[in-house]
Symmetry: C3
Subunit: 155 residues, 3 copies
């Protein structure tokens, strides 16, 4: 049986698959800041008095719905993607079935990309967003439970 | 002396203890989304216009105290549990005393479970929440300092 | 060629450099909670009714600009530092050029320390905060792309 740390290797396609999907999700999260900035400049609405100097006619305001929508999507990313990244790495260390693990990584990544799209780019009626949310949510729950079940005998 | 990566193994009970406690905390964080949803449906209060279609009589409103309480607890989780997960993994790589490390993981996990309970499930007067917060906060500070002290000679 | 997991070792100065810088950023994030508490007690402004018992004359209020400024800085930390910590660790596993990787870790860490200073401690006119933000933001983007490029052939 392999040592656990031997799974952290470029010869392990599950590990590489997790890394590529994770890096895509990190890029997606970083783009949220750009989306927020675009909305702020487009609507001339800022959150700090010192930011108003960027252009004339700008104001400090917290009630712009376009900005708040992007910010809610960004917060939702933090609530769901960040725990997923941690537990996904630990799940890789349980040496899961390759096809199962890779499918989960791929589906979760696509679900979160679509979640952002239907929430903050082009609003699509529910249950579009709810489905995207729950797909990745259940995958994260599965990762956490599979990790606990695997490691608890060595606890 | 062990190689650092050899600590990432199921034969290392400190590592397994960290993983199990981390997975429990991740599950706890994911449940916060469910708590928020329950409060939203119970009070028919949503944050996006497209969510109002789920049921009649629903409205968009950001001032529901029950919902905001769960959201503050969830945000507090992100502020504290997510950095803890990262630094906890790095702390495992310093090969700490097993009884000390395992006690810290267990106490921090229980503290965060209680924090959520007294904040968002059944409100208990202060300093209940402050104690839960500081117990895990000081453990995270200790992990960070212990990690810096261990690795700075190899910097 | 080294196995990927052999990079997770105290003999790898890039790895140690990442760990020390990460632990400093985690400490910085934890201090944000303290800054918020200091502002809450100084202005006697709390977010939950049960916190008001700490002192007389206190009230529940969400519109204190000093507190909201610290909270925005803290949220910005979560949005940027937490993904950086994950992708930074994966970037170390690509066996990057030591001088390049170490410079990135050092610059990103200093940029985030300055970001907090100019945002929440002593407000300095723009573009001070924007520069601090973008320096670390671009480094994180670079880490993510370098990681994808390295691991995608093994996908």
């Amino acid at each position: 049986m392999l040592k656990t740390y031997e799974l952290i290797d470029r010869s392990n396609s599950v590990f590489c698959s997790f890394i590529v999907c994770s890096a895509i999700l990190v890029l997606k999260m970083l783009v949220m800041s750009t989306l927020t900035s675009i909305q702020r400049f487009r609507t001339q609405t800022f959150s700090a008095p010192e930011d108003v100097v960027f252009s004339e006619g700008a104001e400090v305001n917290f009630n712009n719905e376009n900005i708040n929508r992007v910010r809610r999507a960004h917060r939702n990313d933090m609530e769901n993607i960040l725990p997923y990244l941690t537990i996904g790495l630990l799940y890789v260390l349980t040496d899961p079935l390759p096809w199962l693990a890779k499918s989960c990584f791929l589906i979760a990544t696509i679900a979160r990309l679509l979640h952002t799209f239907v929430y903050a780019v082009y609003v699509i009626p529910q249950p579009a967003r709810a489905i995207c949310f729950f797909v990745q949510w259940f995958i994260t729950i599965y990762f956490a439970i599979a990790t606990i079940v695997f490691f608890i005998p060595y606890f």
